[in-house]
């Protein structure tokens, strides 16, 4: 659990407070990037070619691994956006785009958020233990922050991912690895009851606009299950999870 406490002075300097997964990133990155923040040997500036501007593209691959025991994840949603966009803020009420992801695994509304310049989706449900690599190609002018989000489908409104992570410092062939914790959107009570969860443990309802929980995003308290005293729960012990629930690595390939 040491990813939860940031003890890395060296790497923490590059991140700002919007990055909810910063602490995770800092620890995970230590062994991987070595002296990547040593900028003394940066290459000489490219000569300026006075031709008509051509769109210069950058390519990133995002690899997501489901670390849970029995929580399939809804198709991975990736959004590229400006630095000021936050799909969620701990302690604040969820927006509807996030609510739809957290309750129903539906990320369709993310593309319409102001400041989002492109979205990419995973191929389908990401099963426990499985990894998926998704390619994101961006116009150089659009490269700023990335957000990754996915629902833990055997829950009422649990989601995980990566919140507004700055990718501009990644050079070609560099990568970062992080672990994500599970958030509770706070928009649907964690009843775990029959008919309330879209995953295979239930086959119930996804998004419902009613908000009958605390109405602020927070760290998910975990599921209780029928075996631990929640009589109406249809969940079983393998549906429990702990943090982290997902591993995410981002590589810039060109």
């Amino acid at each position: 659990m040491r990813y939860l406490t940031n003890t890395s002075k060296k790497h923490s300097q590059k991140y700002n407070h919007k990055h909810s997964l910063t602490a995770a990133a800092l620890i995970a990155v230590i062994g991987l990037t070595g002296c990547s923040d040593d900028d003394d040997d940066s290459p000489a500036p490219e000569p300026v070619t006075p031709t008509t501007p051509v769109a210069v593209m950058q390519t990133y691959t995002v690899t997501v691994t489901n670390l849970t025991a029995n929580q399939p994840m809804s198709p991975i949603a990736i959004a590229s956006h400006s630095a000021d966009v936050m799909l969620w803020q701990a302690g604040e009420a969820a927006n509807v785009a996030l609510e739809k992801i957290a309750e129903g695994g539906d990320a369709a509304d993310v593309a319409a958020i102001e400041g989002v310049n492109s979205t990419v989706s995973g191929a389908g449900i990401l099963m426990p233990g499985m990894s998926e690599t998704i390619t994101v190609t961006l116009d150089e002018a659009d490269v700023a922050n990335l957000t990754v989000a996915t629902m833990l489908v055997n829950t009422n409104d649990a989601f995980t991912g990566l919140n507004s992570y700055d990718i501009t410092m990644l050079a070609v062939d560099e990568s970062v690895s992080m672990r994500g914790m599970v958030y509770d959107a706070g928009t649907e009570a964690n009843s775990e009851a029959k008919g309330t969860m879209p995953g295979p443990a239930d086959g119930g309802e996804g998004y419902n606009s009613e908000r009958d929980d605390v109405d602020f995003v927070h760290i998910h308290p975990g599921v209780i299950t029928m075996y631990d005293g929640l009589m109406d729960s249809v969940l079983t012990p393998s549906h429990r999870f702990d943090n982290p629930a997902v591993a995410i690595s981002i590589s810039r390939t060109e």
Binding site: T5, N6, K9, Q13, H17, T22, V214, I219, L230
Partner: protein, 257 residues
């Protein structure tokens, strides 16, 4: 090393007044002393810190938060170490006065109760200002309510010397000083069993008491509360649907000016 009593400073005795002006005076005296001794490090200059704390739990409050800037050798608590009486008071009853006295007595700088009371689930306290002066490390604690002796903890985080915003996530620790019986009975004094209060008004009553069987009397990661769904009985007075948590329980953003 094991018991985390704040060490007393070896610098010449100066008055330890609580108000800010005398702190500044004391600090400059201290700085002069260090420079005279030839051990002043240029990187250890004063840092103006702006701190925010977010309560990330579903349904637990934090008692008055205690933030301290201190030297590298001091700790409010250490995982695997025995809780000091001052830490125990905070963890079992939310009383931070003794921790504050210990840090101030050792020449540190503190902020007490920046949220002006309890920090509710989902709530944030912003713009907490702390000038760490020559102190290099930051610690933060507050009791988690309702619990027997859980607290949020940041132990001796090295304050960055480069300006910027730094995010740190805090775990909930168990002080190891009181059995987690999960009975809300007003017991907040050190050594008194039970939980002082459930600020959300959402605890049950007449619980028979959880026998958690823990044998770890040192500070450790809190195993979490059990709770139950029986407000009028059962083993626990806590509600498993409201009072459970997973780590992390708090988000701290430190902006170094």
């Amino acid at each position: 090393m094991k018991s985390s009593v704040l060490k007393t400073t070896m610098l010449p005795a100066v008055s330890h007044q609580v108000n800010a002006p005398s702190r500044a005076v004391k600090a400059s005296l201290l700085t002069v002393g260090l420079m005279a001794a030839g051990i002043f490090s240029a990187s250890a200059t004063a840092a103006d810190l702006e701190i925010s704390v977010v309560n990330l739990t579903h349904g637990n409050h934090f008692t008055p938060i205690f933030i301290a800037a201190h030297d590298a050798d001091s700790h409010l608590f250490e995982v695997g170490g025995t809780a000091t009486p001052a830490l125990q008071k905070m963890a079992e009853g939310g009383d931070i006065a003794d921790l504050d006295a210990a840090v101030m007595g050792a020449g540190g700088f503190t902020v007490t109760n920046p949220a002006m009371g309890l920090l509710a689930p989902g709530a944030t306290v912003n713009e907490v200002m702390l000038d760490s002066m020559d102190m290099t490390h930051l610690s933060i604690v507050a009791m988690v309510l309702p619990t027997n002796d859980a607290f949020i903890g940041l132990d001796g985080w090295e304050i960055p010397t480069e300006a910027g915003s730094y995010t740190v996530y805090l775990n909930a620790y168990d002080a190891g000083t009181e059995a987690n019986d999960e009975i809300v009975n007003g017991g907040g004094m050190s050594g008194v069993p039970g939980i002082p209060a459930a600020p959300g008004g959402d605890a049950g009553m007449n619980g028979t008491g959880v026998m958690d069987g823990s044998v770890n009397s040192y500070v450790h990661i809190h195993p979490g509360v059990l709770g139950d769904t029986d407000a009028a009985g059962g083993a626990s007075d806590l509600d498993s649907r409201i009072h459970r948590w997973l780590n992390p329980v708090a988000k701290v953003v430190v902006t170094v000016k």
